[in-house]
């Protein structure tokens, strides 16, 4: 009678399981020290967290010096490149300058700044349409169709979108928004830019191998510099509308987001072409707190998605309607009474 194969008679003893896990962990620590350092940087402040960060930092420095992290990083870059969909807007663009040089974050090449007294609004027509660009993160992806619908099919409006999920001002390694905006606006000027960005920003910032803990004084300094660079990149745009961050369901995130929103509001005030358009009064409960439902035309309707960060289409419509009205007042309906300022945030 044939013997069963050896493996069928073998089970793993607990010490073998431990050895397998230990060796696998060692390989991960050696070849993915960057990932370990990222994880350590997110640990809560405290003695243990700081010790872990120091240890992870040393490990990262040592393995980077040996070049052990290069294979994974190269593979990661390749993978992102081969899985990213290529999207081009349908409208014909003027030819972009050949390989625009990347612009350093701190000093983006300035697009001509708006003169102190704004030039009169041009008469928009089908031959000289109002060029609107909607930029930001996943909020933009989800809001795009709603905003497009709110603009209607007026042939005098040319609407484009430029978004990337999971980006913001904290992670220029993912997308360097200030530099990106300089390049985008240099390639094709716009009359209106609508920005809905920064929901992902409450996270540590790594710059020059220094990890700045979220909302620490050094983090705020770096963040404000980036925010200023982003807004400066749009100085040549006639109208910039900054959609203020809404209430968040998660209390910790909400706390951080409100601090960011205040910084955004103050930064917007320094740029005369930027209008801060707060989403809080439009999408919050009567006491300005977070709510997932609102009574709309007599029906209780869900306005927030289950993650407590994004909105349902109905929720995005609550923002898009007044925003588009405001934009049309400022541009196409020049001469009509301007809408009151929205510079208030919870």
């Amino acid at each position: 009678m044939a013997q069963p194969p050896t493996y069928a008679r073998l089970g793993y003893r607990s010490r073998e399981v431990r050895l397998i896990l230990a060796v696998a962990a060692l390989v991960l620590l050696s070849l993915d020290s960057t990932g370990v350092a990222d994880y350590a940087a997110d640990l809560p402040a405290g003695a243990a967290g700081q010790a872990a960060q120091r240890l992870a930092g040393r490990l990262d420095a040592a393995t980077s010096a040996l070049g052990l992290d290069r294979p994974r990083l190269a593979l990661h870059a390749w993978y992102l490149a081969v899985t990213s969909a290529r999207e081009e807007p349908p409208v014909a663009r003027p030819p972009a300058p050949a390989s625009p040089a990347p612009v350093p974050l701190e000093r983006p090449a300035p697009v001509p700044r708006a003169v102190t007294a704004p030039a009169p609004e041009p008469r928009y027509s089908t031959s000289r349409p109002l060029r609107v660009l909607f930029v930001g993160d996943s909020q933009v992806d989800r809001m795009e169709s709603t905003l497009r619908a709110a603009f209607g099919d007026d042939p005098r409006i040319e609407f484009e979108v430029d978004s990337q999920i999971g980006t913001g001002l904290s992670r220029p390694d993912h997308r360097d928004w200030p530099a990106h905006m300089v390049n985008v606006l240099r390639a094709e000027p716009r009359d209106v830019v609508i920005s809905f960005l920064c929901t992902n920003d409450p996270q540590n910032i790594t710059e020059a191998e220094v990890v700045h803990k979220t909302l620490s004084p050094s983090w705020i300094a770096v963040y404000q510099r980036r925010l200023e660079a982003y807004l400066t990149a749009m100085d040549g745009v006639r109208h910039v509308y900054w959609i203020g961050l809404p209430r968040m369901k998660d209390q910790k995130l909400e706390h951080d987001i409100r601090i960011l929103a205040q910084m955004h509001l103050e930064a917007c005030r320094r740029h005369p072409n930027v209008t801060y358009f707060s989403s809080v009064p439009l999408t919050s409960a009567s006491d300005a707190s977070y709510t997932s439902r609102m009574v709309i035309r007599g029906r209780s309707t869900t306005i927030r998605s289950e993650d407590g960060m994004h909105f349902t289409k109905t929720g995005y419509r609550l923002i898009a309607g007044p925003l588009v009205e405001r934009i049309l007042d400022d541009t196409l309906r020049q001469g009509e009474a301007a809408a009151p300022s929205d510079e208030q945030d919870g």
């Binding site: 493996y7 390989v27 899985t83 349908p90 992902n200 289409k313």
Partner: protein, 473 residues
């Protein structure tokens, strides 16, 4: 704490060390597992373990009351109260807003403007899963299929066991408790199978589900009218693959992690898209929930024992409630109704006419039709509202009158889409010979291989991986 994070790696490594070589049924091991599970759960929200413990205490007491009650009516009363308690927990935390909204809208349609007050609550992660497990415990005790737990520690370890806590599988206590009591010393593990499941689970989640979600499904379905119908169709298929990969990945990871701790878990998926009928689909998709609904809802309702119409009604109600179980949203209810209706039609009219032996082409047509029926269901499942689902369907059918966005889907994503569909038809146990070969390697070499595979998976790690879809239920 998600399975793919370094945080989980440290947590799990520490747990393996703490469990050491102690027998599966030792008090020390159970205690360590219990504390670890509560810690794991508290990482989502510190209030969640309190509710879980409350549920555990109530159901433990109910189990004993049912088992020891002298009269049948008392046993029935205890069972009724405990099931009502579990359903109340679900209703209060998960459905109160939905029911209040629905009632309010219904009254508004009748001309009555009523503002119902609801309490804004956080839905505890995994509530639906552990509540169903608790219900199966008291029902099994009532039916005499399970002796109530003598030790409270055993029951707590069972209900809180962290691999199953967040998104299933819906492992019944009778399947788990029997393993908890088995004296196995020293413990011997099926680690090769466990590691294979973990690697496959991570691949499905990180590479397949995540890449399709961010590269195809979300960009296209966020604004489907801006893209060609072909692309919307590809995104619809993409979502079918995404949700399968996402959910089965969680099951693979949970089963693998549980196996490394010494516990076997029933299968939860078995290539569902190769099914030739809806009935078969539900035998292959979320098997632990399907069988739970069959045993604790469909059969108690009367099953197929009370005539054709009653059977149809039972099927429909079971699927409707199964849909509602997924979340407090009208589209989930409609998704359940869609499947309920499909099962009724299939059972009453289609299956009786089927020949046992059919031509392969006929079988292929059946598979394609079943897959497309399921895909249409996913349109409802994914949509936030019926209007969104309708938009999606219109975008699939209506020709475009304006220029669509040129969208070049990378070849790798096409490959993932087609490969994932083709993989449904591969024979099961394909990796077994490889695994058996690797099993003969020294443990250190196996660890090296595991580490290299994890590094490769880390290379595909995006900057943000969405949580598991089913963790929201």
């Amino acid at each position: 704490m998600l399975f793919w994070t370094y945080g989980f790696g440290i947590f799990f490594g520490a747990l393996i060390l703490l469990c050491g070589s102690t027998p599966i049924n030792s008090v020390r091991r159970k205690f360590v597992l219990l504390l670890a599970s509560l810690y794991f759960y508290a990482r989502f929200d510190w209030r969640f373990p309190a509710l879980l413990c409350f549920s555990a205490v109530a159901n433990y007491a109910a189990g004993w009351m049912i088992a020891t009650a002298p009269a049948a009516w008392r046993r029935r009363l205890a069972l009724g109260l405990s099931v009502a308690f579990n359903l109340f927990l679900l209703g209060y935390f998960k459905y109160q807003g939905f029911f209040a909204d629905s009632l309010q809208n219904l009254l508004a349609a009748a001309g009555l403007e009523v503002q119902l007050r609801t309490v804004e609550t956080v839905v505890p992660v995994g509530l639906s899963f552990y509540t169903f497990r608790a219900i199966s415990y008291v029902v099994d005790v009532y039916r005499g299929e399970l002796v109530p737990c003598r030790r409270f520690l055993d029951w707590m370890t069972c209900l809180t066991f962290f691999p199953y806590l967040v998104a299933g599988p819906v492992v019944r206590p009778k399947e788990f408790l029997s393993q908890l009591d088995a004296p196995r010393h020293p413990p011997v593990y099926e680690a090769d199978f466990a590691f294979a499941l973990i690697v496959v689970g991570l691949f499905k989640k990180i590479v397949i589900a995540n890449s399709l979600q961010h590269g195809l499904v979300e960009p296209v379905l966020a604004d489907p009218f801006s893209y060609s119908r072909g692309l919307v169709l590809a995104a619809t298929y993409g979502y079918a693959i995404q949700i399968y990969s996402d959910f089965s990945a969680y099951s693979d990871l949970a089963i693998g992690v549980a196996l490394l701790l010494g516990f076997r878990t029933p299968d939860n998926f078995e290539s569902p898209y190769r099914a030739q009928s809806l009935q078969e689909f539900w035998r292959r998709w979320h098997i632990t929930l399907s069988t739970w609904l069959r045993d604790y809802l469909y059969i108690p309702l009367g099953g197929s024992r009370k005539g054709a119409w009653r059977t149809a009604a039972n099927l429909f109600v079971t699927m409707l409630l199964g849909g509602l179980w997924h979340g407090a949203r009208g589209t989930f209810v409609c998704w359940g109704a869609w499947h309920g209706l499909g099962l009724v039609v299939e059972r009453q009219w289609l299956l009786p006419r089927r020949k046992a032996e059919s031509h392969p082409a006929v079988r292929a047509v059946r598979t394609v039709m079943t897959f497309h029926f399921v895909c249409l269901g996913w349109v409802l499942f994914r949509a936030e509202s019926l209007a969104d689902a309708w938009d999606h369907l219109r975008a699939l059918m209506l020709p475009r009158t304006v220029a669509v966005e040129p969208f070049v889907l990378p070849g790798l994503l096409w490959l993932l889409l087609a490969g994932s569909l083709a993989a449904q038809f591969l024979p099961s146990g394909l990796l077994q010979p490889v695994r058996e070969r690797i099993r003969l390697w020294p443990a250190a070499a196996q660890g090296l291989l595991l580490g290299i595979i994890l590094v490769l998976l880390r290379a595909a790690w995006p900057d943000g991986v969405a949580p598991f879809i089913y963790a929201g239920f």
